[in-house]
């Protein structure tokens, strides 16, 4: 009987050893690939950081109306954020390649689904960037025009326009990513409609005296300028 037990134990050890022997090369390959990818990622991070610093990327993002990017960035530097994104992208790619060394079937499915989703992510990112820039541009345009028209609630108007554009942009991005589905659409419709209705009521009812005073001041300005004896040029 002891011989039988010994036999079974030997066979089990053989199976474990064989399985380990089959698994270990893949694991070693995964580790080597990860280390290599990390080294490449470090180099790329340095290269991206230096080239963005040379191009004054931090100042340019502010000029393009992407100041919020600085709030989300480490040390308030979009340059560092981009460098880190590049770093982790390479590491992630390395991980995918390494996993394929373990089980090609698993990674191929993962990679296919990932790459199928990537265009949606890129489009959503593009929509968000365009929306951020547009909201800032329109908000500033409204603000300056309203101030020059002597409208006291210039900042409120500017803020309202900015958030309208941001809400619209977010809804478009979420729809592109396929997140939330109808819930997002309904929420957006309610929110957007609510903002518009609020502004309409504010102008129509709550601020009618303020608006009418602004228009009166505007009309007075035109009358005044026709009577005033000076020309700017």
């Amino acid at each position: 009987m002891w011989m039988h037990i010994n036999e079974v134990l030997k066979r089990a050890m053989n199976r474990v050893t064989t399985a380990a022997a089959d698994f270990l090369p893949g694991l070693v390959a995964l580790l080597i690939i990860l280390i290599f990818a990390t080294v490449v990622a470090f180099v790329l991070r340095i290269a991206v950081r230096r080239s963005l610093e040379r191009a004054n990327f931090d100042r340019r993002t502010d000029q393009w109306g992407l100041a919020r990017l600085a709030d989300w960035s480490p040390a308030r530097s979009p340059t560092l954020l981009m460098a880190r994104i590049a770093f982790w992208l390479i590491v992630l790619l390395g991980l995918l390649v390494g996993i394929s060394a373990l089980d090609a079937r698993l990674t191929s499915m993962l990679v296919i689904r990932l790459f199928a989703y990537l265009p949606n992510v890129l489009v959503a990112a593009f929509v968000l960037i365009v929306g951020a820039v547009l909201s800032r541009f329109l908000a500033r345009s409204i603000l300056i025009s309203a101030v020059n028209l002597q409208i006291q609630s210039a900042r409120l108007l500017s803020l309202g326009v900015k958030w309208l554009v941001i809400v619209l942009t977010l809804a478009m991005a979420l729809e592109q990513l396929g997140i939330g589905g109808q819930i997002v659409q309904l929420s957006f419709a309610i929110l957007f409609g609510g903002i518009v209705l609020t502004l309409a009521l504010a102008v129509g009812l709550g601020s009618k005296e303020m608006v009418s005073r602004s228009w009166e001041r505007q009309a007075d300005r035109l009358d005044r300028e026709s009577e005033e004896h000076f020309h700017h040029l």
């Binding site: 000029q63 210039a154 005044r224 004896h229």
Partner: protein, 425 residues
Amino acid sequence: MAEVDIENAPWEPAAIESADIVVGVLSFNSAETIGPVVAAVQSGLSSYFSGNRSVLVHADGGSKDGTQELAVQSALDKDSFLQVTYPVYPVHKLSSGYYPIPGRGNAVRTVFEAAGKVHAKTCAVLDANVQGLKPEWIHALVRPVFEEGFDFVSPYYLRHKYEGTILNGIVYPLIRALYGKRIHQPIGGDFAFSAALIGHYLDQPEGDTDLAGNGIDAWLTTHAISGGFRLAQVFCESRVRHEHEPPPDVSTILAQVLGPVFTEINRTAPAWQRIRGSEAVPTFGLGSFPAEEPARVDLHHMMESFRLGYQSLQDVWRLVLPPATLLELKRMASHPDESFHFEDAAWARTIYDFALAYRLRLMDRDHLLRALTPLYLGWLASYLLEVRDSTAAEAQARIETLCRAYEAQKGYLISRWRWPDRFNP
């Protein structure tokens, strides 16, 4: 009379082979004033330059109100009258605003090409939308170039102290401090040019859309100054412009006037950074300020505009102005109307900061120039408060003081221009 469309066909001056003097009259829907202007120009040429061959070139941008026909009818000497058209693109019409001649740059270039074709020694350019143009003005404008050998002549309008405030508060001091020449009307006037200067202009590459459109005056003036040409100015009565429509608001005027000026400052930066101080330009004619008329202006409204701007545009101004200037503006905003005052040095630095922001594109350029409006109204209120009891001559002396402040602050502009990130007081 030879009628030629320069835009669509090469121009062959079959009827006019050469001329000593060319006077270009620019028009666009100027039916109400073109007749008297054409008559006055030809009367001036025949009265004062009768021994010389002169041509009136009427450059029209495709008027739809009969301007071209009226011009032909009003011409006293059809053999010395040439009518040409210049291209006006939709963008010129959309952005004309303050300027009554859309596509003014194309109009001026058309006249220059005509002057070049006939080998004219002198070329003057006038707008057709002025009222009360006298023949003597043609003589005054043309003579310094034709007889005295100057290359560039601009008018020197002696105006009411409340007129030309953008010119007196910004454009004239800026051009004077940067380029070292005291040209009182660097833009928005009638000019005369020599053949050499016209050749210099035509040799330059085609200007960008801004300059080909309505910002041509700044380009002409800065090229004449930086090209080392002989400059002069001539006293004359203030022009009365005929308005087709209500004038645009002050922010539109600021944007349209200062845009080309700042563009030229950016383009000629290597030249003006070497210039120190300023010198007077020879001035012809006798001038006297107009009789003082009581004028009504609402200073409180201007000050309130400034205060509203300070309250609401902090985030915008912070991108352009350094902390020291913002502090000065804060102090001003808290002052009551009676003691409201915009220091000359602070105003000069403000304009310089906006010129720098224009160059660096810290924001959309139209937004930037319109954001200057409350600051301009604040300066204007301060200036009008100071000169309300002054004569026109005293007000002009006050402007000269302002100009010296611009010159004194030029070092500040140069430092910020060269090191915009490091020098930020």
